[in-house]
Amino acid sequence: MSPDGKASQSGSAAVEAQRVTKIFGGGDDQVVALDDVSVQIGENEFFTLLGPSGCGKTTLLRLIAGFEHPTDGRILLGGEDISPLPPFQRPVNTVFQNYALFPHMTVGGNIGFGLEMLNKSKQEVDDAVTEMLRLVRMEELRNRRTSQLSGGQQQRVALARALAPKPRVLLLDEPLSALDLKLRKEMQIELKRLQNETGITFVFVTHDQEEALTMSDRIAVMKEGAILQIGAPRDIYDHPSDRFVAHFIGETNFLEAELLERKNGAAKVKFPSGAVLPASLPDAPISPGKVSVVVRPEHSRIATTKKDAVLSGTLENVVYFGTDTHFHFRLNDGAQFIVRMQNARDSGDDFTPGQELGIAVEADAVQVLRD
């Protein structure tokens, strides 16, 4: 685990997990949901916990909300330890996966509930509800029962309800997973807008890598109760430090190469073909010798000159995708390699399976993995 430390740019973090461990059950049935996890989430940040189911992302969210308590470690909110506090004493609100709207209350009643529980005056509650309804563009539905709403509308009410008390941090537990694709895309943009307008820190849990890349300021990729990598979407995508991260996010090519002795910090790797290219290193110490590297399909192209060709192989398959085309290669050493090239008006489809071709790789496209 190696958080990259970029979080503490703004002084004290909005939320911080310090060496948090969470174990469910006891004896032989013991399950370690989180294993010594530390992370700092900054003010106004859209922070995403990304990982497959069972990776501990929801557990971390529930620890911040207060529905679970850490077995070990601390949860800090604005520098204060909130680990012992029950959920109703934490200035943190949650948007639940199934929305959990109160079925016996109107839309307005749901949205005003938090402020009412904070003993705000009726006037204040009413004003806040009006403001929230405007924010999520649902003014005309104030007196509806929540059962009369569509999925997308319920989603907005859940958001408005969680935002109304102006929490320090908003927690979102896979809130878009129940929506259809089109609505999900709309809500992604909507969420980003709400975050900008309210200036509240969002902690977003998802297993959808595309959703994470689209919305987040930073992403933490999790697996089996640990954070593998934290970084901006572009960092994570272009420079995955781990095989799992590289595999989980986007499509990628794995290659074997040899890391050469470093000269003045710049790392270079040598491919079996003999070509030597500059490479980015993960933030873990790594010694020269055999390494795994990744190259994104769109960071490579079919070489037009002999000089460009870093790799070479046989073209096995050409798959046309409209905006781009995927070229599946079998490299000379037996590995598979995919080249993705954007389709331009003048790009000829003059490559046919069976051809022996060279593959060029963009500068800075080679990323060395930790393992």
Binding site: G66, F88, V92, F102
Partner: protein, 286 residues
């Protein structure tokens, strides 16, 4: 399976067409199924029909029909013994219903809204005990237990009967309340806590309002069960504490009169009304 049948109705009825995949065995198509079903219904409901019919018969005999008349209902209304027994039955049933429902609600919360603990199945068993122990055993046990107390303290009165009714009504009130709690989405209560509601306010504003249909259903069931009870009441009731069923049994010893038919019909109507209400509530807002 029944659903599938109603959905695809007509084409399936003709048994000649090969049944679609996954349909399998259908009880409804067994030979004689309809006959047996009608026989069962007849045996169940024919006696009641006869009862109702002869309650509006002018003749003193309950086997010979003469003409329609409300006279037995008038006699029921003017019968002081029936009046007294009805008031007593209602008194006992109302108190037993209120107390049993309150206890059952708390028991249901304690068995569904806590972390599972060792011995929870035993708790279920204890709460549901009156459903499993033969009623006569409970009745005899209660009788001798109360006799012991009466002897020790000298206190007598209707309290004993009410207490006995309350106790055996608890499991009946408990069942629908617990079912409702188990159906309820736990994240609603979490959402409430997340929105700054203390546990008590979460109960008052979220759990309780959503539980109300279950509580009403439980209360209704407890009321009917108490009103209906014979065995325990027969043994526990003191002198002059005849509930309506006990009174009816007492009268029947002297022979069946149309008056009894009339009381029973009223009783039946009230029970059907309450049970219908119970089902409506149990299905409400599901």
């Amino acid at each position: 399976m029944a659903d599938a049948v109603t959905q695809v109705d007509t084409p399936v009825r003709g048994a000649s067409s090969p049944s679609p995949k996954g349909r399998g065995f259908d009880v409804k198509r067994l030979p004689g199924f309809a006959t047996v079903a009608w026989m069962c219904l007849l045996v169940l409901y024919a006696p009641m029909l006869v009862l109702v019919l002869f309650s509006v018969n002018d003749n003193r005999s309950v086997t010979i029909w003469t003409k329609f008349s409300w006279r037995w209902y008038e006699e029921v209304i003017n019968n002081e013994g029936i009046q007294h027994a009805t008031v007593l039955s209602l008194k006992v049933a109302v108190v037993a219903m209120v107390v049993a429902t309150a206890v059952a609600t708390m028991a249901a919360l304690a068995t569904t809204r806590t972390r599972a603990y060792r011995g929870l199945p035993v708790v279920y068993g204890i709460i549901n005990q009156p459903l499993m122990v033969p009623e006569i055993v409970t009745a005899v046990a209660t009788l001798s237990f109360f006799a012991l107390i009466k002897q020790a303290t000298g206190v007598t009165g209707l309290g004993y009967l009410i207490l006995a009714h309350t106790v055996f009504c608890i499991p009946f009130a408990y069942m629908p309340i617990r079912a409702r709690l188990e159906d309820m989405d736990l994240t609603l209560e979490q959402a409430s806590a997340d929105l700054y509601a203390t546990p008590w306010r979460t109960f008052r504003r979220v759990t309780f309002p959503l539980l109300l249909p279950g509580i009403f259903a439980g209360a209704m069931l407890a009321f009917v069960i108490s009103l209906d009870d014979v065995v325990i009441s027969l043994l526990v009731a003191g002198p002059g504490e005849s509930t309506l069923p006990i009174y009816i049994i007492g009268q029947l010893r002297r022979g069946v009169t149309p008056e009894m038919n009339a009381v029973s019909t009223i009783f039946l109507a009230v029970s059907i009304l309450l049970v219908t209400f119970f089902f409506v509530l149990a299905r409400a807002r599901k």
